[in-house]
């Protein structure tokens, strides 16, 4: 699996990609494969503040609930209602249509500290 190099990745298997002055956040292909069929998503509310490393939502497969961790800090500007209504979209297209939230970053240096695509590719290879 080649991970897109237009974004950064966290050890908790989230990605963050710049889009204008916002960061789009989702979970990785590795994460969706590990979870299996996703049937429920709970996202933070638009307008709420998030802190990097905190659990800010839940992604549930048939078998289990997993935390969704904020890869960066900031305020949530938009959530993807389409994945709330159809969680399987995350399985189908985790890196594009299956995005989860858009965030206005409060600390641009956080993005720099995340892994790039090749580092993340190495990281998941060892799991």
């Amino acid at each position: 699996m080649m991970y897109p190099d237009d974004r950064k990745y966290s050890e908790e298997h989230e990605w963050a990609m710049e889009e204008g002055d916002l960061l789009v956040i989702g979970i990785t292909e590795h994460a969706q494969t590990s979870l299996g069929d996703i049937v429920f998503v709970e996202l933070p509310e638009a307008g709420s503040d998030i802190v990097s490393g905190d659990s800010i939502g839940v992604i549930e497969s048939v078998k289990a609930a997993s935390d969704f961790y904020a890869p960066i800090s900031g305020s949530v500007e938009e959530i993807n209602q389409a994945v709330v209504d159809d969680p399987a979209m995350i399985n189908r297209d985790p890196h594009a249509d299956g995005w989860l939230i858009k965030v206005k970053s409060s600390d641009p240096s956080e993005l720099e500290s995340l892994m790039d695509a090749s580092a993340y590719g190495e990281f998941v290879k060892d799991l």
């Binding site: 049937v39 429920f40 709970e42 048939v62 078998k63 609930a65």
Partner: protein
């Protein structure tokens, strides 16, 4: 740490891309292609499960029936030769040691099938019961733990009979009634075939000598896959049984809960005329009044109930129990669960609340099973 055991199909599961996990000490596939797809295949066509981890005990001899009737809650004398019976096995406190199916293979020969996680516990319980009931001086039977000699496959779904008929062999599948069992040849192997299962569909459980289980597995896949059969993992096995509200040991059932509290009154024959282990305690509980029960519920507010989540009354004020199993129901497309709760206030139609990550979300108690198949066998 005990060594993790593999079934005879370990390599076959890997070859099929199964995601293998440690399930109670056994490496078994939780899924192959995906839980939802496997669940749906079983509901609509057929699914094939490796359940070789289950335990098998053989009881044989003139007193096999008598002894089995002393350790089981159900009336063993009602099981005819060639038939299966579901029962609980209790301790002296009336708590459930295990729930199991036994097959009366011959007039004096019974095969008990017990939960994998309970094999050692059940075996020592049965040994103790045997001694308690007078041992060999009083009971003429032999007891054998044959768990490692048998592979067990479950072929489930409406196409199951058709798939078996397509294999070589001499089994009269059509005339095998639900809960009946027979022996014969299938795909060149001597097997014992029973029309039983754990999914709510028509289907069969196939006992195969462990050395030949791979060839039967492969023959069933070869015959079934063109008809829509999918190999199914533990994930689908769990969602299928949950839609039927079938109790699972370690979740709904344990040694502190009696059969009367866990929906197993129908296999608990207090009046059968035998002082079976646990009878006095269960009778005492019955006289005192059963105050707790298993209830099926569906979520009204969005959220998925999971084992251990607290259950509250309609106002969300008083905790009345906890979730024992919960998931998204693939067939119903909604979140469902089973809970062990106070009996009053949890009749079907009652509103309850499930505590999910600090929020008390509304759910409704419903009649079980959640799913009923629509075809005749």
């Amino acid at each position: 740490m005990a060594e993790i055991k593999k079934t005879a199909l370990f390599d076959a599961h890997q070859k099929l891309g199964g995601r293998l996990i440690d399930f109670g000490g056994w490496m078994l596939p939780v899924q192959y292609k995906g839980v939802l797809q496997e669940h749906q295949a079983c509901r609509e066509k057929a699914g094939l499960f490796d359940v070789s981890h289950m335990g098998e005990f053989l009881l044989e001899g003139p007193d096999a029936e008598k002894f089995l009737n002393l350790i089981c809650t159900n009336d063993v004398t009602k099981a005819q030769t060639g038939k299966a019976m579901y029962t609980a096995m209790c301790n002296d406190r009336g708590g459930i040691v295990d729930d199991l199916i036994f097959y009366r293979l011959a007039p004096e020969k019974y095969l008990m099938v017990v939960n994998a996680s309970n094999i050692q516990k059940d075996w020592s319980h049965i040994q103790k019961e045997f001694e308690k009931r007078g041992g060999t001086a009083n009971l003429n039977l032999t007891l054998k733990d044959e768990s490692s000699s048998w592979g067990l496959l479950a072929l489930q779904g409406r196409l199951s009979a058709k798939i078996i008929e397509g294999l070589s062999g001499n089994l009269d599948v059509k005339s095998l009634a639900p809960f009946a069992c027979t022996s014969g040849r299938m795909a060149g192997v001597d097997v014992t075939l029973a029309r039983t299962g754990y999914t709510g569909e028509d289907g069969f459980e196939i006992f195969v000598p462990v050395s030949q289980v791979v060839s039967v597995w492969e023959a069933l896949l070869e015959a079934g896959i063109p008809q829509g059969l999918e190999p199914c993992g533990l994930g689908a096995r769990d969602t299928l049984r949950l839609e039927m509200a079938y109790a699972l040991y370690g979740h709904e059932l344990n040694e502190d809960r009696s059969p009367l509290e866990t929906g197993l009154a129908w296999v608990t024959r207090l009046e059968k005329g035998v002082d079976f282990t646990g009878r006095a305690a269960i009778e005492a509980k019955k006289s005192a009044g059963v105050t707790r029960c298993l209830a099926g519920f569906r979520m009204i507010e969005r959220g998925i109930p999971r084992e251990g989540y607290p259950v509250f009354d309609a106002e969300g004020l008083k905790q009345i129990g906890q979730v024992t199993s919960g998931s998204h129901s693939p067939t119903l497309g909604q979140a469902i669960g089973l809970a062990f709760v106070d009996k009053s206030g949890t009749e079907p139609g009652s509103e309850i609340r499930i505590g999910i990550r600090g929020k008390n979300l509304t759910a409704e108690v419903v009649k079980t099973p959640f799913y009923r198949r629509s075809y005749q066998t």
